[in-house]
Symmetry: none
DNA sequence: GATGAATGAGTGTTCATTCAT
DNA sequence: TATGAATGAACACTCATTCAT
């Protein structure tokens, strides 16, 4: 169906040019459809954006939730977190870029899809990483690092991984980052 | 002078809404001038952007160059690098945000001001950090880390600092980051 | 049948919002059908309008023709004319509003349904009222009023009755108007 | 100035084709300007319409107020009312047509310019005519007609005069109408 | 009869920019 | 320096309509 073409084209443009830099004409041209069809499948440019954003976050959260269920050592939980991000960025770099894209100033988002997902994202990472660190420190597996700041620094790195396509093909980077945290965290 | 108002207003908008999301009307309104005046002082929206970008990079590089001249231990050179970034973001967050803003798709930039500065920025950091690491390792001050990847990780962190205003007021974050690198690098 | 729903919905909209102010989507929504169905039953928006208009005029003329056959005093013929209009507006205000609606500028009306009916309407009233007046004056039943102008004034009033729903429920208005004409016409 | 051209062109179109049937392109073409200029002088199509409507009503009310100040016989006050309407329609038929044009369904009119003026218009006529009738009846100058209904019938006629350009050039119609009311009202 | 998907032409509007003053 | 008036090109979006099913 052509709706998928629209979504694919729009995702690419939104990720690379931003919301404001993407025109409905560009989307329809790339998707091989006429502009009015966008308005048959979506209520407008806004909804194309939020709909894509919502489904991207949904996929992303699904992947994250898997991490919680796996039972490993605490450090492996941190390691998996990085691995998942590297994998996702490699598989769908455009989609992942949207996750950290700044909120388009002109976007009317009545259901607050942007805000909701962004907040949930932040909270999820904070909670997941924070818990890992606490547990790791309590169990003696980890050095007694400062939980709050260390969490933020891990999130910083995840953010960079999500954004920068440069790193996505470098297993060396992946290993170095994990090694960095192994040395910082493990006693 | 009103030109300064224009620059200040434009910087704020470009940093917060992006190039495409910023209209010349918004700039002129915020600056308290009429739109045509923008075209008296600049050749167009493009030049407002590139001119600001160029001066921001210029200030930034000036700060970076100071680091080279200071004679300290190798680690202090790395430390200073982080400190400078924290300081700059605190002093002028909008300007710093521009440094890592994605290249506006629609920007016509005949003198390649964006590309030139961005490349120079990357190269500068790569070279500065790479040299520090090599020297540190050679002199026995640093552990024998992988130079290329470690450089990238440091740059990742600097990028995050430049972008995220959230961290700018947190001395604890700053200290934690530096502390981590002390643990990673120093023998 | 759904065709009737379409006609009913369209009539309401054409009467209240005008031809240009009525969209095919609005009609189909109100009628509880999809837009393409309009094109199964009609050749297009134009034909929906002209078809409705034609049937409205047809009903209207049928009512008018009845007046001619009744044998009464001349004044009662004038009186009946007003009564018929009051009755029709009360029974089907939307339909009657269409009779005097201005010709939609964008309407393509190859069979000139609008023009034909409108002209016939004007001519019918002119002739009916004119004849009544002449006969009445000749027979001595009426005062020797100016036929042309008096005809126009009566038509003016009928037009207002057709348009203004406000009057439709007021028997007092009806009686006053008839009373005035009794005073003007009868010797 | 070109703003006047816009107003003149828009007035003509709004009067003849209605709000929905008038495009901004038609206005700008007729006015000999580009479409964006409409948006320099007005905030949008809506404001062009309401602004014209407001000024038309303003002119119209100015003319009506003059009637109140003249001291004549009661009947002459009624007569003047008709004369003023005939004169105005002759001088500016487009403008007068707007006064009774139906409220465009799609018009966003935050200041309720349409409703305010329309109501004021109705109230003004009701009060002016009603007072004349009452005074005329009390003083014995007029027959004891039913005030409410007679007022409505006079307004009906004024409405027709405002709408129908056909009558505007006919002094005979004017005289006949006034004669009609002379015979109805004067004892 | 009836619909989901799709379209060409056009609508109101905004954009960055220019020109005369 | 600075502005009021004006514009060409593009923008997001709506319109009546069609087609395959």
């Amino acid at each position: 169906m052509k709706k998928n073409n629209i979504i694919k084209a729009a995702t690419r443009f939104f990720a690379s040019q931003g919301y404001d830099g993407t025109t409905t004409k560009a989307i329809s041209d790339k998707a091989g459809v006429t502009e009015p069809l966008l308005y048959y499948h979506f209520t407008g440019k806004d909804e194309i954006y939020t709909s894509i954003l919502d489904s991207v976050f949904s996929d992303y959260f699904k992947q994250l939730e898997v991490l919680k269920k796996e039972t490993k050592t605490i450090f492996e939980k941190i390691e998996s977190l990085f691995l998942v991000h590297f994998t996702l960025v490699k598989k769908m770099p455009n989609e992942m870029a949207l996750i950290l894209s700044p909120r388009p100033a002109k976007l009317t988002d009545p259901d607050n899809i942007y805000a909701k997902n962004t907040k949930r994202h932040k909270r999820w990472l904070k909670s997941y990483i924070g818990n890992c660190l606490k547990k790791g420190i309590d169990s003696g597996e980890f050095n007694p690092v400062q939980v709050k700041e260390t969490t933020s620094i891990i999130i910083m790195m995840l953010n960079e991984i999500l954004q920068k396509k440069d790193y996505k093909d470098s297993p060396a980077m992946r290993d170095s980052i994990i090694d960095f945290w192994r040395r910082i965290l493990l006693v």
